[in-house]
Each structure stands twice: as C-alpha cells, then as structure tokens.
C-alpha cells in the first residue's frame, strides 16, 4: 500500500513574500478594487477594501461575507474586483477562507493545479465576523496548516440593513434596533467585544493578529502584507467610521478614525508570534507619553450618541480609563493581577 504523507506539503505551503512599503510614495499604483461599487459617500470600508487588495496584489482570491462590502460593492455586471472574488454567507468568512485554502492545498499537492502561493483573504463586517461568524473564524484560526487572512471591517453596526446594533456597537449607540426612548434612554447596554485581543489570546498558534485604522493607510497596507507573508491563519480588525450609521458629515471619516485612536477607544497593535507591539499614537498612550483625549470629543461628534447625558459620558470615559489604567496589558488584555 502506498503511504502518503498528507502534511508533507500542506504544512509548508509557501506564502508570497510581501515586503513592507516604506512610506506612501513607495506604495504600488496598481488598483485591484476599482470603479463599479456604489458605497455611501465617505465610506471608510470601501477605502479599506482598496487598501487591503492593493497590499495583497493580483495573485489573491478574495471571499466576501454578506454585509455592506458585499451588497454595495458587487452588483451583478458591475463588480469593482479585479481579482477573483466570491460571496460567502454572513457567518462564513472563516469557512470560506478555510475551504478555499484547503482546495488550493489539495489541488497543488496532488498536481491538479500549478503550484504557486496564492493569497486567500476573507472579509466580514462586525455582524458577520464578531456575532454570527465568530465560531467559524475561531475554527479557521485553529487550522494552522492553511495560509489565509480574515479581515474584519468594523463599522459598528449592521449598516447594510438600516443600522442595527451588533456585538461590536459601542455602549449606548442609537440604532434602529436600539433607539433612545422616553423611558429607556440607553437601549444597547452591551460593551463592545474586544475581538482582536480575544482571538489572539485564544489562538496562541495564530501567528499574526492586528488592529488597523484606515486613517493610517500605509500602516494598514503593511499589516495586510505582513499577515499574508507570515502565513498560517491570520486576523486583522479595522475600525471603519460610517457616516450613515454613526451620523456625521461624510468628510470627517478619517478624523473620527484618528479620534478613536487618540481617545484610546481604538488601540492600534499587532501580535506577531505571541509578541505584542503597540503602534502609532496607541504606543505613546500606552507608555503614557501622550494624554488620551476625552472620549466626549469623539462621541459628541456623532449623532448616534446625541442622546448621551453627562452620566453616560462619564460611564464611557470610566470604562476607557479602566482599559488603560487597570488592564493587565493596557488597551489589549483585561484582567488584573492579584
């Protein structure tokens, strides 16, 4: 009987080596997410898609879970994707990436497809990723033999279906499922899940987890390139200001992304092979070289928090203060030592 070593190849399937681009002037001009989409004015997620695939390049397969970046991007006969793209179900970004990577692995090992490293990226929104699809993403991060990237674009609501709260909506946000009323001012009382850190801490074999903000475009691109180069299953979480869901003038998307970092609400970091590295302003905040801006500066610029009272703002500020002053790893890992 012929003995086959099933993992002879799959364990060591090569990745593309994508060196970081040092500065905006070094970034490639090629676009793989082009015209044809119909996202809202000021949509940060559309920019994030463009940066993500610019970073990955043409030898990439992209899978997109149901959400804004599916519905608003890929209308039949007017796709913006230059690379092969396929829809996957709302909770299936992890499964889509796993299945695609597994197929490439099997077909290349068996000689049914020419061998070459092909990037596999599956994106999902916060609803598809952190609510419904969390278990499939967790499972994907356990399959260390496959090279794949799960990219979560987080606009903090189910924005495609009329703005409903998700597990990643901030405390108290006004949404069509959590409207402030005469009796209950705060309808959404859940605190936002700490998704990237949860996945990094819970999957120690996952070699790369990062958070990004598209205001830092080069950083975003290079984190995608790093994830694809290091290989195995990897995860990136992007906070994407959403003019429609957050209720602000579309020209302020970048400003709000910046403020989320400066107020400490959105820490930028990466965990590479178990090593945590804070980035940009978050690094200075963590080292207490820079004062965090008050969260009210961020919250009160958005209509979804217009019903907040001082009490709500104080509560919110207190929770963010805890993140940086009490957590075991400030901004990343909660718990406190004995």
């Amino acid at each position: 009987m012929q003995q086959i070593n099933i993992h002879a190849l799959s364990d060591y399937l090569e990745t593309q080596v994508l060196e970081p681009w040092k500065g905006i002037k070094k970034v490639a001009h090629d676009e793989y997410f082009t015209s044809g989409h119909r996202t809202c004015q000021g949509c940060e997620s559309a920019l994030v898609m463009r940066l993500m695939i610019k970073a990955a390049g043409p030898r990439t397969i992209v899978l997109g879970a149901t959400g804004c970046m599916y519905v608003a991007n890929t209308t039949y006969y007017s796709t913006p994707w230059v690379v092969p793209w396929m829809h996957t179900q709302l909770g299936s970004s992890g499964s889509a990436a796993t299945g695609t990577a597994a197929a490439l692995t099997a077909l290349m090992r068996k000689g049914k497809m020419e061998k070459e490293p092909i990037n596999v990226i599956a994106f999902c929104g916060d609803g598809g990723g952190a609510d419904m699809g969390l278990s499939a993403i967790s499972a994907a991060l356990q399959h260390t033999q496959y090279n794949l990237l799960i990219f979560l674009y987080d606009n903090e609501s189910y924005a495609n279906t009329d703005i409903q709260v998700s597990g990643l909506s901030p405390y108290g946000a006004n949404s069509t499922f959590s409207p402030p009323g005469k009796v209950h001012r705060i309808m959404h009382k859940r605190w936002k899940k700490n998704t990237a850190a949860m996945l990094a801490a819970g999957h120690p074999d996952c070699k790369y987890v990062a958070t990004v903000s598209a205001g830092n475009a080069v950083d975003t691109i290079n984190k995608v390139r790093r994830a694809l180069t290091i290989g195995g299953p990897t995860f990136i979480h992007s906070l994407d200001p959403c003019p429609k869901g957050w209720d602000y003038d579309p020209k302020y998307s970048h400003d709000l992304g910046e403020l989320a970092v400066e107020t400490g609400i959105w820490p930028l970091y990466e965990v590479e092979e178990g090593k945590l590295k804070m980035y940009g302003k978050s690094k200075h905040i963590a080292k207490r070289r820079v004062e965090r801006k008050p969260v009210s500066e961020y919250l009160l610029r958005q209509g979804r928090f217009a019903h907040f009272t001082k009490e709500d703002l104080d509560y919110f500020q207190g929770k963010i203060d805890e993140m940086w002053e009490k957590w075991l790893l400030p901004g990343v890992i909660p718990f406190t030592g004995e």
Binding site: Q2, V71, T79, P84, T98, G99, K110, S135
Partner: protein, 418 residues
C-alpha cells in the same frame, strides 16, 4: 426477480462488458461503502462534524487518511454550517468534495445547502437519514434530506450498501457534468443502511477512473488566472433568469443520469435502471411505492403475497430529484391502485400525506386512466416496518382497487399506537 430494465434500452457495449474487472468483495456497512467510493473518486477536500448516524462514514474516511491510504484535505469543522460552507468554497476553486450529515445537523447547514445549489456547485453529500428533533430519535425518517427538495439538490435514496457505493460514483459523474453542475445528496437510512453490513463489490481504481472523469470547473473556476466575481447581488434585474438557468440544469440532469447509468451498467455489469427499481411489476394489479431500505420488508411481503396468488408489485423510487415522473407514469398507468409508503410526514399537506405520496399523486394526475392512490405513513423515528405491516397496507390497496371502503383522500398511519 425482474432483470433491470434500462430506460434508454441501449445495447450493452460488449467490449466494455468484457473488460477485465478486478473487484474485491468486502463485508461492509453502507457508510463504509460510501467511504470506499469517496476514496476511489480521489476526493480532494472533506469536512466532518459529528452527528449520528451519518458520522460513521467520516470515521472510515479519517482512518483511511490516518493509514496513508487516501490523500485529501480533511477538516473537522466546528458546526455543520461551516462544514458545508468549507466544501462549498473548495468546490468553487475546483476541488472534488465530500460532506454529509443527518437530521437536524443537515438543517443546521441549511443556509449552506441552499447556496450550494444556487451557485451550481457539484458537492456530493451523504445523508444518514434521521428523525428531526424534537423529540430526540436516532432512527430513520426522510424529512431531513427531503427538506432541500425544492432547491436544486439532486436526491438519491439507496437500499443497499452496494447501491450506496455505486450511487456515490454515479453522483460525482452527474453532479460534475457541466450540463448539470448541481449538488447531489445520497440518502442512506439511518441504522438500517448506515450501520448494517453486507457483501459489497469494491471496484478497482482503474475501473473507477474509466468511469469518472476529473472534475473540471472550466471558466467558473475561482483562480487568479480566471478573475471572475461569483455570486454578486443580482436582485430583481437578474434573479429570475438565474433561477431559470438552474431550472434548465435540473431538467438536463435527467438525461445525464440516464447516460451515467448506461455507462455504469456497461462498465460494472450492475447498476440497474436509473430512477426506479421495479420488483414483480409486470402483471401487478396493485403497486406499492417507497424509498430506501423499506424495500427489504416490502420485497419479502410481496414474495409472500405472490405465493398466495396476489398480484402485487413494488416500485422503489431511487431518485426523488429529479423526480422520475415519466417512469412512474409508465409503470403505474396499468395498475388499479397504488399504495405509497412514506417514511416522512408533511403536516397540513394535501390529504395529510407524506412528501412522496403528494408528489406521486401529482405525477399521475395527467393520466387518462389514473390508478387510485392510497397514502400511508410508516416506520417513523426508526420504527421497524414489518412484513405484516406491508401485508396490512397491501390489503387496503386491494380494497381501494376493488371499490372497497378505503379513503384515498386521507392518509393511514401504520404501526402507530392510537
């Protein structure tokens, strides 16, 4: 016993029939038989998730992989939904895939099942038929697999382990034919087939390679060399045309299945008639109709009744999708009454019948001389259908044929404590 009749009545290719065959005979269960087919089909990606009784197939598959006898990517998923989504995406990239489930597990994957058919991906799955919860039961009912009957899945029901192996090979050939590109589920009755052993002829790799061409996704393959966008938002502008394309594919499946059975019969010297099995039907005055392992007690009972001079035959539906309308019309137009035994239910449906009876009644409606159709529900939750049950059923069908007091606008529950 009747010899198998080919629907196309093609002549046997003598050359092929005489080609050297090397088949081994093994005492194996229905699940193990399918695991052999999956290996012989050189499947590329397999996903597993535990639920009884289908899961035995994955136990055999994983052991073959562990022993180095079979090379494929084998993934234990974290839910049935992921299990079916993973292979769905692998199929889009051009991998031959296998998957399966039972009962509520199949329903947990329902969203993935719907899109797999919608996307025209030729997944082959095994359903180890099991009653849906609640109340819990491991035993067979057909409602799990039948739940996808309107979505484009081809649905085969098999009665023996040999038929399970053979049908799995046929399923890959039909599903992956570019005229079809639809998924196919092979239903095996829980316990009665999944766990029951019989002697099975396991073909050689060369025989299977001659019968089953490699999967070629063609210009639908998702690959950087073919940068297509798959499954965008089509909305009212195009959905109806796309549905129509799927309808045409489901229609074309019929001819492709007939071709595949012809070829299988020629190359393997078995396989029988596509779509239906006729048992003592030539001179039958009344016919019983059912699916799956029900065939065993029914055939025993039919033989017994034949010895008593009762002209009863049995018609086993092997494929529920595509539904063998023409074959059933032809086979049943001469009988006086038909008794349909459903191992499923369709609460609130026409005459409270099961899915098979309702579908069959609809198929016979255009006939000028249509037989009476009496519907029965039996064997739910894995309850045994005995030969006495079948004789009881047959008595009522004869009564209907002879103008007796039988209600053909209601459904009789057989073997139930009232």
């Amino acid at each position: 016993m009747n010899p198998p009749k080919s629907a196309t009545a093609k002549k046997v290719d003598v050359q092929a029939a005489r080609a050297p065959r090397s088949e081994s005979e093994e005492l194996i269960s229905g699940s193990e038989a399918i695991s052999h087919a999956v290996k012989l089909a050189d499947v590329d990606v397999i996903t597993a998730y535990p639920i009884r009784p289908y899961d035995t197939v994955m136990q055999y598959v994983s052991q073959m992989i562990a022993n180095g006898e079979f090379d494929c990517e084998y993934i234990v998923a974290e839910s049935e939904h992921s299990q079916f989504e993973i292979v769905k995406h692998a199929s889009a990239v051009g991998a031959r895939v296998f998957c399966g489930s039972s009962g509520v597990g199949w329903l947990y994957a329902f969203e993935a099942l719907a899109v797999t058919a919608g996307l025209r991906l030729p997944m082959v799955a095994m359903v180890g038929n099991r009653a849906l919860d609640d109340p819990g039961a491991f035993g067979v009912e057909h409602n799990d697999a039948l739940s996808v009957r309107d979505l484009g899945w081809m649905l085969a029901w098999v009665a023996t382990a040999q038929e399970a192996l053979d049908t799995a090979l046929i399923a890959y050939r039909v599903a992956e034919d570019s005229r079809v590109f639809l998924p196919c589920a092979i239903s095996c009755d829980g316990a009665f087939l999944t766990h029951s052993q019989s002697i099975v002829k396991v073909p050689s790799q060369q025989m299977v390679d001659n019968f089953l061409p490699p999967y070629d996704r063609g210009d639908k393959q998702l690959h950087p060399d073919n940068p297509i966008t798959v499954a965008p938002q089509a909305n009212e502008d195009w959905v109806m045309e796309i549905r129509r394309q799927n309808d045409m594919a489901a229609r074309r499946a019929r001819e492709v299945i007939i071709e595949a059975y012809d070829d299988f019969n020629n190359q393997f010297g078995r396989g029988g008639e596509p779509f239906i099995e006729r048992y003592m039907m030539e001179d039958a005055e009344v016919a019983l109709v059912g699916m799956g392992t029900l065939a065993m007690p029914v055939k025993v009972a039919v033989r017994k009744m034949r010895q008593e001079g009762k002209k009863v035959g049995f018609l086993r539906v092997r494929w529920f999708r595509p539904f063998p309308t023409i074959e059933l019309q032809g086979a049943l137009s001469g009988v006086h009454a038909v008794g349909v035994i459903d191992r499923d239910y369709s609460f609130g449906s026409t005459f409270h019948s099961g899915a098979l009876a309702n579908e069959l009644r609809s198929a016979l409606y255009p006939l000028a001389n249509r037989p009476k159709v009496v519907s029965f529900i039996a064997g739910l939750g894995g309850r045994e259908v005995s030969t006495d049950n079948v004789i009881d059923i047959t008595g009522r069908v004869f009564a209907a044929a002879n103008g007796g007091e039988i209600d053909d606008q209601d459904t009789y529950w057989i073997g139930v404590r009232e």
